[in-house]
Assembly symmetry: C2
Homo-oligomer: 275 residues x 2
């Protein structure tokens, strides 16, 4: 499965372009610098100055200043022609992960769940119209999905996505769905907004969500919410598998109780935390 390319670094829904003018509330050189970091990818693991300038939409001079700054700070190395990111760049994302102590507490719970149901378990948070994986415990089966921390998938066709949309006010969920790039990824994918809102409402009502082959043929996933002290869903937890070995019936009858027990335990741990 191809994961999503990261979206443009702007609010997907509000599209607040007025705020993106240099001045007291917008530091353009900082925004450009982040764009340079994001220009590196699996397709462009090393880049020349010209390639960075083109991908990040900068002049060569602008790209050069940013790259030299990144090099001085140890985030980029170069052989004189090709530039590449260093592992120090993980300090930026890791600062986020380590700022959410839930993930440290969550891991043993997720590992127990994986050991029990023998399927992979992931946690994701909502970012605009996408879900972003924040933790994953794979099972040791050969067939499985390769979705590391930081991977993105569309919210509308994923179980975790619908569970996360279910925590939003209905008009906000509708707005996000309307802003989504709704595509029939399989012949089962729901792309009608009213039908999607009905699925979201159902997820909200029953407290869990099952999505069968809407993201990819053969894939089935079930999600439940992690709820904080204020009653808000901070992330969703899922169990995902292959529909030919894990039917909807098996998921619902044997795995759902384990998933709900895990999310209750994690929500309890969350409640005990400050902030």
């Amino acid at each position: 499965m191809a994961t999503r390319a990261s979206p443009d670094p702007k609010p997907a829904v509000t599209g607040d372009t007025a705020a993106r003018v240099p001045g007291d509330t917008y530091v353009q050189s900082f925004a450009r610098g982040l764009e340079v970091i994001r220009s590196f990818s699996a397709q462009a693991p090393t880049q020349t100055l010209s390639e960075v300038a083109e991908r990040a939409g900068l002049t060569r001079a602008g790209a050069r200043r940013i790259l030299l700054t990144l090099q001085t700070l140890g985030y980029v190395v170069t052989d004189g022609r090709q530039f590449r990111l260093t592992p120090r760049i993980l300090d930026l994302g890791f600062a986020y992960l380590s700022s959410m102590p839930i993930w440290n507490l969550a891991e043993p719970v997720m590992e127990s769940l994986v050991a029990e149901v023998k399927e992979s378990c992931s946690a994701a948070a909502l970012d605009g119209t996408d879900i972003v994986y924040v933790m994953r415990v794979p099972t040791h089966k050969i067939m499985r999905i390769n979705l590391g921390v930081g991977s993105r998938l569309p919210a509308y066709c994923t179980a975790m996505g619908r569970m996360l949309l279910a925590d939003l006010p209905a008009d906000e969920a509708a707005r996000l769905l309307a802003a989504s790039d709704l595509q029939p990824l399989t012949k089962h994918t729901i792309i009608d907004i009213d039908a999607l809102l009905a699925k979201v409402a159902q997820a909200r009502k029953q407290g869990w969500c099952l999505v069968i082959q809407e993201l990819e043929e053969g894939l089935i996933a079930m999600a439940a919410p992690l709820v904080n002290r204020a009653g808000r869903t901070v992330a969703a937890l899922n169990i995902s598998g292959q529909v030919n070995r894990t039917t909807a019936k098996v998921m619902q009858e044997t795995m759902l109780p384990a998933l709900l027990a895990a999310t209750r335990e994690m929500s309890r741990l969350l409640e005990m935390q400050k902030g």
Copy 2:
């Protein structure tokens, strides 16, 4: 085990402060922005404007401009008083991880290794005097180390660190060790530079490295290198365990062949890759 706080974002060894003056080769506002991102942590998951300014060493006005930029770009949200990072920040680290396609190929190999030896397996790269975890496959045992992707540990007292130092020219390894904060973390920790260089040379010669209780009492780890087409070590792979259940003899006699087979397989996959 406490993982290391991230170092100052400057080259640990060269300390190139001359380059950190605003101008054609240094964009100060970009560097300040990255410092703001790094100011969020497990100790400071949410911060007020004043807290960000203090932790990042900025004026309130400067911190405000950066925070508003991050907010416009969707990397930060605020309730008006408290700011926190969003999962979108993971895009930055993901740019690095996805720019190293080895990690996608590596995971199945690492999972097979974990299934075989029943101990955790990690991969790390060198960043100055530290190693940075880039991948981890935990075992499902109860006792295990919590080191997520992006975690840092000192190179001098870790098996992966010594294996990574072994790929450097001897004078460069000596320079990094001299720049390290050498501390007797346990009564077994080697902190003498010549003795450390001898261990590094031994690791280079034998192609693997065993470190017993030098990082933490009770901890044992063995590492081997991942080598690219050019013959350079791009990362190290380890197996780590508790010394009371996994002795050095067991590691060396039963796990070492599996570790070396895994690194050979991964190095072969690496060689097939471009770049």
